[in-house]
């Protein structure tokens, strides 16, 4: 039952471990997901990975649901559930436990110092995510231009992100990317 070749166990093991290392949230873990899913395990191609990222951004819910899509492509519905729970449950249990310990302990300053120390790390990880996704998605100059334009619009205006995704989809459909 617990065979090493079982893809569901591979998903549980991969994402369960990753969840405990995912400093800075799901988007910061994207380089590691890409490394494991595309380069190490060969679960999907580069193109499929960027498609899956697009679908996860397009759908409602937390960004972490990209693992549901990776899990589905590996082992169907069971894989989708296994990957999602493996990515979310270990850290949820940890969060539950830590919040209880902190509430009982006296106010100490170490959480804020650790937090300050982790912020640059998680920004660096998100930067790596952006780079890896840009390399897989932006294969033409037009595509790179759309990415830069979307970044500028999202940064400078309060436009709802869904409009930008929709705009990208229309440009893609029109064959301009």
């Amino acid at each position: 039952m617990n065979s090493e070749n079982d893809p569901v166990w591979a998903l549980v093991w991969t994402f369960g471990l990753m969840s405990l290392f995912a400093v800075g949230g799901a988007n910061a873990a994207i380089p590691e997901m890409h490394r494991v899913a595309v380069e190490v395990q060969h679960w999907m191609s580069d193109k499929q990975f960027s498609d899956v990222f697009a679908i996860s951004q397009l759908s409602p819910g937390p960004n972490v649901l990209i693992v549901t899509l990776i899990g589905y492509s590996v082992a169907g519905i069971l894989g989708a559930l296994a990957a999602t729970l493996a990515m979310c449950v270990p850290t949820a249990v940890l969060a539950y436990w830590v919040s209880h310990v902190l509430r009982r302990s006296t106010q100490s300053r170490w959480p804020s110092i650790i937090q300050a120390a982790l912020v640059p790390l998680s920004i660096g990880l998100m930067g790596a995510s952006a780079l890896i996704l840009a390399l897989t998605s932006d294969r033409t100059w037009a595509a790179a231009f759309v990415t830069v334009a979307a970044a500028a619009l999202a940064f400078a205006t309060r436009l709802h992100p869904l409009w930008l995704l929709l705009g990208g989809g229309i440009l893609g459909f029109a064959g301009l990317i």
């Binding site: 405990l20 679908i55 409602p60 940890l94 110092i113 937090q115 660096g124 990317i177």
Partner: protein, 200 residues
């Protein structure tokens, strides 16, 4: 033996929460926030918890979120568990967790089935390619927003650590665990040293 808490400890003031939400209310509230949240649930979580239901003050929310942000894993998932369990114990945590993840997982799974069946159709491939270009742009803008405070503070150590992690993961493609095992102790050590220097 010694009591649970040292005598010098100042008891945190227990603010009475108006009406502790029921398990069903937790599930429904987190399901709504989750389904409203495109490209991130945090904004909606703040709106729902602080503005709409008044289950927490803005300060309490920020503190809770800070805790969830410094823990590993998906931040909003951590937030749902910490928040739910604060009102209704472990069952409350599970209700909020299930509300946050259940409904969107169903939607995403349906999309996964559709993608597996129709993903090779040319028009859909082009549409997804366009969407992912825009989605990368959104990620970049979130990244710049997070970088601004570091740049404004001229926090050169922070910027150096950020750049080192970026190169190690993004360019050299080192495994995440190895990079974190090296960089977390280093970064925390530097922060402690600087905090001690500042307070001395």
């Amino acid at each position: 033996m010694s009591p649970d808490s040292p005598p010098a400890a100042v008891a945190a003031p227990e603010l009475p929460t108006p009406v502790p939400p029921s398990l069903i209310a937790l599930f429904v509230a987190f399901a709504k926030m989750s389904l409203a949240g495109f490209g991130g649930v945090l904004v909606w979580a703040r709106r729902g918890i602080v503005d709409q239901h008044r289950w927490m003050t803005a300060e309490e929310f920020n503190e809770t979120f800070a805790l969830c942000h410094f823990l590993p894993g998906p931040n909003v998932v951590n937030l749902s568990v910490v928040f739910g369990s604060r009102f209704r114990g472990p069952l409350g945590g599970m209700a909020a967790f299930a509300g946050l993840l259940g409904p969107p997982v169903v939607i995403v799974t349906v999309l996964a089935v559709l993608y597996a069946r129709f993903g090779e159709i040319d028009a859909l491939r082009r549409i997804l390619a366009g969407i992912s270009c825009a989605a990368v742009g959104l990620l970049m803008s979130a990244l710049f927003r997070m970088m601004m405070p570091l740049i404004k503070r001229r926090d050169w150590t922070g910027i150096a650590i950020m750049a080192a992690v970026f190169v190690a993961i993004g360019v050299l493609r080192f495994p995440l665990a190895a990079v974190l095992l090296a960089s977390i102790p280093l970064s925390i050590g530097i922060s402690f040293a600087m905090a001690r220097k500042a307070s001395a």
